[in-house]
Symmetry: C2
Amino acid sequence: MIDLEGKLADSFRCKTLKWLSEEYHEMNGTQYDVLDHMPTPLEFSRLVHIARPVLIKESTVPEVDDKCAWSKEWISEKMGNNKISVAVTPNGRADAVTTGPDGKLFFAEPHTQRMTVSSFLDTLSSDTEGHEIDNQSWEVHYLQSQNGNLFSSRYFDMSGEEDPSEFEALREYIPSDVSWCSDALDRTPDAVNLWIGDERSVTSIHSDPYENIYTVIRGAKHFTLLPPTEGWCLKERRYPHGTYARSSSSSALELVPSLPSVPLVRWSSVTDPTAPGALPSEAHPIHVTVKAGETLYLPAGWWHHVRQEGFTVAVNYWYDMEGRGMSWVWMNFLRGTEEPPLGNDEGAGAKAGGQIES
Amino acid sequence: MIDLEGKLADSFRCKTLKWLSEEYHEMNGTQYDVLDHMPTPLEFSRLVHIARPVLIKESTVPEVDDKCAWSKEWISEKMGNNKISVAVTPNGRADAVTTGPDGKLFFAEPHTQRMTVSSFLDTLSSDTEGHEIDNQSWEVHYLQSQNGNLFSSRYFDMSGEEDPSEFEALREYIPSDVSWCSDALDRTPDAVNLWIGDERSVTSIHSDPYENIYTVIRGAKHFTLLPPTEGWCLKERRYPHGTYARSSSSSALELVPSLPSVPLVRWSSVTDPTAPGALPSEAHPIHVTVKAGETLYLPAGWWHHVRQEGFTVAVNYWYDMEGRGMSWVWMNFLRGTEEPPLGNDEGAGAKAGGQIES
């Protein structure tokens, strides 16, 4: 029996989302603001209300009076033999949908490996200047521990609690907040993260409920952005969870499916939105390259896919988005109030035109 | 034949709007902020992003060193014999849905009468202190010419063009803009209006695409507010247009239907949202009384019904809302992308539970 009512509800929902994304695109286009200097708190408050990406041609990280600052050598020297947590994958796709055992699709979390900064930096494929080097690692390492690895919300908590960081030694070079952003939003960051990797690491397209201030210190990041209204173009599905692991310290990484009790992960089934034909014609991706010394304001709820150019060091500041008013409600509405279909269900995928490049 | 698809689309749309208004209410409740003092531009910018009503216990209009300032006598003296345009209706309901000839419902515009300020003030039902007086007029007069009667956008246009005002003599007492609002929104007002009336004039529920700063100078205004998400509770319908007029200068006002070529007016069919049972249980009206010396921030898109207490003088500043970003798109979505049913169509009214108290 055909569920006519369900089908019509689907089609109405689809029409509604298309209408909203068309209207939004008509009013806003695909251009983005470029600022020569940091905004004032008031200017930034206005930009948060508009909630469009903004490229700022300045760094949130003060210049260090040392030509070698933020080179591999400089970072290694500052960090010494302290161990850090590094994400390791066989393919550079941490937190992404990947084909696992038996050809089934999984949402794959990386293997976390503890190592010294210098041994981590040795795995990267290019030197500080971005020239390719003969690295020893077939696996892809990415420093992407997004738990506030530089400063977490505990740091700003006045209770005096400690906020230990693996990157304690780098804290003096990185401000704990972005003052114009903290002033505009009237809050301190929820997490400040350091990111270090190379062009082999790619961040799959997703969105966060955070206002995001993203500064590139070395290298460059290529962002592919979609507004919250175009989330429907990304065909979210539910995937079983898995984590890369090795059976012994010398063996290769394998994707290990999590126990069935681990909830399915909702994720876009479009693995590379920059690939031709990956997105429907109704999507209007915005491509922004953030070079060393530049900062991107990525508004809460915007979908982003990120590639890197050679040896890349970046820092980002996540601020909780405003929960009062409309923004939160709209974001949830655009994500859909119902669970998306299963990512491994052929029927569901075909019905909605889902696609996966594995 | 039953239009099953149309019916299901209606029901889905209805469900969507109900979901949005429920979520919005859950996140925001019905409380509103009360500020003791004017916000800074930055504070106000944040409030605009949240887009909730705010009552400010301060006036945008500086105090005048004269105990009689803004009394009937004081206003009359300042204005002299200059004539002003006053809205006149038989029932105090200008710009509202009213029963017209043959019992048909109309959107009724008031009769505009030119008169001196002192003869206008004589028609009001109470004296400066709000005590009832024996006024000569059976008709209800309301100064509500919302065309920027104090300052229009032309005033801020630096081209040197003139912006004549009927209230030129009062301009020196009323700032042409609200500096913290102009700074926050980075624009000058679109219109600044003076409002003078009594408790017999009521403003029917409607919404404007403007950020609104509303200061009461004398008397008090009782606002009944609904967020943009609850617009569906107001059952907008389309009504034929009419204007009050008299056949001779001494005859009574009659509602004259406009020519059929005048487009139908989309307006709420709920004439008194404060009446018991006028709104469905899903509506969460907010009642805010703005007293003399207080200011209301009424965010763009909020529905408002306004009553007055005795002799009331007020000034409001309309600022264009931000067109970039989501706000405009959402507002249009919540208003509905399709024309509402006809207000005089029994079938349509009954189907949607429309109601009119005439």
